[in-house]
């Protein structure tokens, strides 16, 4: 089992004819993901290494029965691309685009909530999602993830996600699904959405959560873990030493007005019974100990 995507997921790539979309779309297909179509307005009828390209998402969906979209288009075009996928009733949309204005993200998120409740958006500005051995949508290098289980991963940071996957693989621990929710201020999918899914997924028996400074998503996750989860969680939060008022690379990673500190998040998670690690390596070690006892 896995969450959100598995071997039945059929993916279209919006922006397949662009540099990034082509590179990652083909990599995802090479991994074994069912990449069934590409969408680029004006390029319908062409193909990218055998993957048919359509003018619109609606055309691609009616021709292929796709049930997921991978959006890799520039920031200016991304909001419309997300809404186009939603208008075609695609249930799962992954947008890796970095640099979308916050107001566009807020407007898109609330439009989906109101008009397209059947569509879940992952991202923007995220590495994507991988259910190892089944489906990989986004930019994660599939070979660093060991298929199977029993661990589910949810993370706000790209490279730390890879680090987590890799450390678990080194220790011989498999992963059900690894979700990168992204570091932007208005993520389509939050920690709590993923934690709920992991709690409900029988194959996932423990969860690793990687957070960072800024916002209150980790505190909300702590509340959910305390109230709804009985599966063990190991967490690591990056940015203990980040100075207040400075954005640390991710648009969302900023400590402001004393809120969103790493220590506050770690305290909240520890109080919810989460095993809180001080660095990524320790998180891997704690998870290995925990898995050995399952």
């Amino acid at each position: 089992m896995a969450i959100f995507v598995d071997d039945t997921t059929k993916v279209i790539v919006q922006g397949l004819t662009g540099g990034q979309g082509r590179f990652h779309g083909l990599r995802n297909r090479d991994y074994g993901t069912k990449v069934v179509a590409g969408v680029t307005p004006g390029k319908g009828g062409q193909d990218v290494e055998g993957i048919p390209v359509f003018d619109s998402v609606a055309d691609a969906v009616s021709a292929t029965g796709a049930n997921a979209s991978f959006i890799s288009v520039p920031p200016k075009a991304a909001p419309a691309a997300i809404l186009e996928a939603a208008a075609s009733d695609i249930p799962f949309v992954v947008c890796i685009t970095e640099g979308i204005p916050a107001h566009d993200e807020a407007r898109v998120f609330n439009t989906l909530l109101r008009d397209h409740p059947g569509t879940r958006l992952l991202g923007p500005n995220c590495p994507g999602i991988i259910s190892p051995g089944k489906c990989n949508i986004g930019i994660t290098a599939g070979e660093i993830a060991k298929p199977g289980g029993p661990v589910g991963i949810v993370s706000r940071s790209g490279t730390l996600t890879y680090q987590a996957l890799y450390e678990l693989k080194q220790k011989g621990i498999g992963v059900t699904t690894c979700v990168g929710i992204g570091g932007d201020p208005v993520p389509g999918t939050s920690f709590i959405d993923c934690l709920r899914e992991f709690q409900a997924d029988p194959a996932t028996r423990a969860v690793m959560m990687i957070g960072e400074i800024g916002g209150s998503a980790e505190e909300e996750a702590a509340e959910l873990i305390a109230a709804e989860m009985d599966k063990p969680v190991v967490a690591y939060i990056a940015g203990v030493t980040a100075p207040a008022g400075k954005k640390m690379g991710h648009a969302g990673a900023i400590v402001s007005g004393g809120k969103g500190t790493a220590q506050g998040k770690m305290d909240a998670l520890a109080a919810a019974g989460v095993t809180v690690a001080q660095n990524p390596t320790e998180a891997g070690d704690r998870m290995a100990e925990l898995v050995a006892r399952l």
């Binding site: 407007r107 940071s157 890799y166 980040a242 400075k246 690379g249 790493a262």
Partner: protein, 382 residues
């Protein structure tokens, strides 16, 4: 990007938000000229992006040109908490009957816009929030709906603004909302929003923070970008297109990815050191990017050791290693370098670096080991 007060007021004016007549001045003579235009009495205000200007003597009332000359002379060049005043804003002094507070920002938890309005303006709003939370009216606005004049008036009423201020305040709230949304602000705040004895409402201060991601649709922001205050290291990094933030430790940091870079800072701290910077070289790690990163770190005199922490996901370890080797050929690095290279093709990458290893270039297998070595080097060479 945070705007100076004068830029914020100019930005407000674009959206029709009333501000006091005034102008910006870099010299005493310019200040007097702006004061003559604005009409006496005037307020001379230091333009620095730090709180506590008034207490530091950076805001002065002047009744005449002579007084403007004295105050502007004192304020220009003044050091306020490490910020040297290069500009003053000179505006007509307003008579004040009441001071309010109004702002729009994003509530990341609710994923809606948050409007905060209070009849207790003119003071630190965070203090009001702590001592009298009920004195701030919080309203969540769905970005799809927007803010109507009617709704804005309801907010002003709920905040218990004075009756004669309601219409003016509601009008300003709608304009401030437009400024926040169409102007792509992360924060649009007026504190204080004042009521004058003759019943007019206007913005006496302006705090505006712009969303850098929206710069592509705001060519007018270029003039603001030109006045952003950066230290020399940050300016060099910006020229090279790097995500760099200067800190005050002795271990220079180069990492790929924002999360890993933050994590590297933390681990250096955990093993007893202090980072000199945050530097994210992004997904790729070409020789050009690596050379630029080493140049920026090299320009920091406090750096005693450099920690390069790379995890190859898509980026192959071999490419990173080749980038490092080439960069070292181009840049004469002053401090010893500790490299941790892991992930995709890391072993092959380490083989590429192996012939260059010395006491100036050390390879370590894990992030913790690398941090310990870098910190020991930084402290040993003090």
């Amino acid at each position: 990007m945070d705007l100076f007060e004068y830029q914020g007021k100019q930005y407000f004016a674009r959206f029709g938000i009333p501000v006091s007549p005034g102008g910006v001045a870099d010299t005493v003579d310019e200040a007097v000229a702006e004061a003559d235009k604005a009409g006496y009495p005037v307020v001379v205000k230091a333009q620095v992006q730090v709180g506590g200007r008034g207490k530091a003597g950076g805001i002065k009332l002047a009744a005449s040109a002579e007084e403007v000359r004295v105050h502007a002379g004192n304020i220009l060049g003044m050091d306020i908490k490490g910020h040297v005043v290069k500009r003053v804003w000179v505006e007509h002094a307003s008579d004040i009957s009441a001071e309010y507070y109004a702002s729009f920002t994003l509530d990341r938890s609710a994923k809606k816009y948050l409007s905060m309005v209070s009849a207790r303006g003119g003071v630190d709003i965070e203090q009001v929030a702590e001592e009298e939370p009920d004195a701030i009216v919080r309203t969540w606005i769905d970005p799809v709906d927007g803010l109507s004049l009617e709704h804005a008036r309801e907010i002003a009423v709920a905040a218990k603004l004075d009756a004669e201020a309601l219409d003016g305040a509601a009008d300003i709230l709608v304009k401030l909302y437009r400024c926040y949304v169409e102007g792509d602000c992360d924060l649009a705040e007026i504190n204080p929003l004042i009521l004058t004895p003759d019943g007019r409402v206007h913005a006496l201060d302006a705090k505006v923070s712009l969303d850098d991601n929206a710069a592509f649709r705001h060519p007018e922001w270029e003039e603001y970008a030109a006045t952003v205050e950066l230290d020399d290291r940050e300016r060099l990094a910006r020229e090279k297109g790097l995500q760099y933030i200067g800190l005050d430790g002795s271990v220079g940091i180069i990492a790929n990815g924002a999360g890993l870079a933050m994590s590297t800072l933390d681990v250096v701290n955990q093993v007893g050191g202090r980072a000199a910077n945050f530097l994210d070289i992004g997904g790729g790690a070409s020789a050009d990017v690596m050379a630029a990163a080493l140049e920026v770190i090299n320009s920091d005199e406090n750096v005693r050791a450099i920690l390069v922490n790379i995890f190859g996901g898509i980026t192959k370890g071999t490419e990173v290693a080749n980038g490092i080797v080439e960069a070292l050929n181009r840049v004469d690095v002053k401090a010893p370098i500790v490299i941790r290279l892991d992930g995709t093709l890391a072993e092959e990458g380490r083989k590429i670096i192996a012939p260059l290893l010395s006491d100036r270039l050390i390879s370590q297998p894990t992030m913790l080991d690398a941090a310990r070595t870098a910190v020991a080097l930084a402290q040993g060479s003090k």
